[in-house]
Amino acid sequence: MPESSAIETVGLSKTYGKSVRALVDLDLRVERGEIFGYLGPNGAGKSTTIRLLLDLIHPTSGRASLFGLDTRGQGVASRRLVGYLPGDLRLSDRLTGREQLDSLARLRGLRDSHHRDELCERFGVVLDRPIRQLSKGNRQKLGLVQAFMHRPDLVVLDEPTSGLDPFLQGEVRTLLRENADEGRTVFLSSHSLDEVQHVADRVAVIRSGRLVDVGEVETLRERSLRHVTATFAEPVDPSSFGSLEGVRVTSVEGPRVHLSAPETAMDALVKELARHQIVDLVSQPADLEEIFLELYREGGDGR
């Protein structure tokens, strides 16, 4: 019998009331040792999926398992293997960071605090002040520590780097990579492609409760559009840009040309643009909504 996947869902659905379909027929398989990005705009069903996996809410139909353990019937056993960072982290305001971590460790029956201390040092966690006095970033660090402190086989992170400065975001990515290298699995939910694409191996895209696409990050990145605005010293003929693979000229205003281009085409595009004299060049990532629309158009079959 093959080794069970870290996460497996079969036809997992959640409907609120009669008509609000928060999640529709999700079939998903996350293998052990991979960093799996779960991408979608706010309200797409990301947190619903996670809360189903942790048995905080019950599915309307379908089922889910973690390492072969059913999330309903073997909830406690399956959650023993998981570390979780909620998207909207609420801690006990009156406790200090240390007291909060102690109480959570006790809840897990965790006695060895060695790894926890290491993590606290690494992230510079403020331990001796009441949590109500901490900034969002400092609370988030406590959340990260409690999610990793027992070296879980699966870490489920809902928007983990919100409120963290860029240095710490990098540190979190390093931590995720280390975990994956040790054979642990990471399930990383985010609305930001940038947060996911540099660290995840595979990515699922979800929209309006439905899985749109699952694939290698590279594939998604190819579709990751940039809006480019080039201002030239004098008006130029834009047709040579539009003939590049994936590049579209969206509008021309005198010497200023607006284009959209996938990240993979940027090198060729910039070289082509540089054949003329450039006054200014602006490149911005398209927001995820646009990328999703693109996905829909390009044969996302809306399973």
Binding site: L54, L56, I57, R79, Y84, D88, R90, L107, Q146
Partner: protein, 243 residues
């Protein structure tokens, strides 16, 4: 506690005032019934005085407010604040969480009731109240039973429904209705059959003079336990509210 001390300190001036009994005897039955003045009871004895001043209304009210607040806060309140999201994602059974919280509520109720009982024991010789230690113990036990019932009802309703408003409203409304039934059933015969549903009636009134009804206290405690267990089972069936 200071309230109990003040009430007890006033007693010597009441005791020296036998006309008070005559005054009270002339009160209409409705008032006597509502104030918990026992038939043939005397307000100028220490036990009778404290039964009226403390055990007929004030102490049960204080204990109930504390118990209901604690029971509603500990689950529905925590869920409302989004703090259960993380804890219940841990390898913890929800029903164990409810039972553990029930234990915490019981701890608070027991602490307050025990302090009340000890205060009465300590004040007894100081102000010449002439109380029976056995009656102090059973009066305390009846307070514990009332407190646990309302606290665990608040906890159970909160666990079953996720609504803090219901967790406060249901036990508070029940207590108010039960209090009135107990006070008035003698006078309004249509209320009489419902007296069995009133925990105040079950534990008995004027506990310092008569002692509490032991089997009544037991019934109330068992009902409280049943409610707690029901809440811990119902919480497994529902979705945790999104913070």
């Amino acid at each position: 506690m200071s309230y109990i001390a003040v009430i007890a300190a006033i007693f010597p001036s009441i005791e020296s005032n036998p006309q008070l009994d005559n005054l009270i005897a002339s009160y209409p039955d409705v008032l006597k019934s509502l104030f918990g003045i026992a038939k043939g009871g005397s307000i100028t004895s220490g036990a009778g005085y404290l039964d009226v001043e403390l055990f007929s209304f004030m102490l049960p009210l204080l204990v109930l407010v504390l118990a209901i607040g604690s029971g509603a806060r500990t689950f529905a309140g925590e869920e409302d604040a989004g703090r259960l999201e993380l804890v219940l994602a841990y390898p913890v059974r929800r029903r164990s969480a409810v039972l553990a919280k029930g234990l915490a509520v019981a701890g608070e109720v027991l602490a307050v009731c025990a302090a009340t009982g000890l205060a009465l024991l300590a004040l007894d010789p100081v102000f010449g109240l002439d109380l029976s230690p056995g009656h102090i113990a059973s009066a305390t036990a009846s307070l514990v039973a009332l407190g646990l019932l309302s606290g665990w009802l608040a906890l159970g309703v909160g666990a079953a429904t996720a609504s803090r408003a219901l967790a406060i409203g249901v036990p508070a409304g029940f207590a108010a209705a039960a209090y009135l039934v107990n006070g008035l059933h003698d006078l309004a015969s249509w209320l009489d059959p419902f007296r069995f549903l009133s925990p105040f009636w079950l534990v008995g009134s004027s506990p310092l003079q008569n002692g509490a009804d032991k089997s009544g206290v037991l019934v109330v405690l068992l009902a409280a336990l049943a409610i707690l267990v029901a809440g811990s089972l119902l919480v497994e069936r529902r979705d945790l509210e999104t913070p």
